[in-house]
Symmetry: C2
Subunit: 101 residues, 2 copies
């Protein structure tokens, strides 16, 4: 089970790295502390809705795109779990016993 | 600016109502307090990633679907804001002065 904050942190970090920006730059632009942003990126802290909006604005990452990406990541996990073989409750096969010699 | 917890609460409440289920039923199934679920639905409380997963499981609402819906709602708002007329910085028109009689 992957937690929401893990996916959100991953997408935010990837967006920041794609832009070649530092934690310091984005945290200053979003007016959040560098430590807070770092914890959010690592999925260690739940971002409040307000601070998540500020971080996404600093990254020019529309919230629609962030959650489309989160949705896609969940969907691929759900697809995987659907594809996992399920053990059926069948009785163990009883081996035919060889007649006593 | 619509906050994430507002959209999440709306989608959860709509999903519960569509299923004709009560706050009591879903909160018991998700093992969260009825008051907590009610606050989450009204967008008054940030659900932790863990409790959000429990609530969605109780509703049989895949997280991929919840966030696809959240994404769609944000996209429609972003579309609206793009469609809002923007005031251009043009100089006010100087009326031609009538010649003095």
């Amino acid at each position: 089970m992957v937690l929401l904050r893990t996916h959100v942190g991953d997408v935010i970090r990837e967006s920041r790295k794609d832009q070649g920006r530092t934690l310091r730059d984005v945290s200053a632009s979003a007016r959040v502390s560098l430590g807070y942003l770092s914890e959010v990126e690592r999925g260690e802290k739940e971002a409040s809705s307000e601070l998540l909006a500020a971080i996404c604005e600093a990254l020019e990452l529309p919230l629609s795109r962030l959650f489309a990406e989160v949705s896609t990541r969940y969907a691929s996990l759900e697809h995987e779990s659907l594809a996992t073989p399920v053990a059926l409750p069948v009785r163990p096969r009883v081996e035919a016993q060889a007649p006593a010699a």
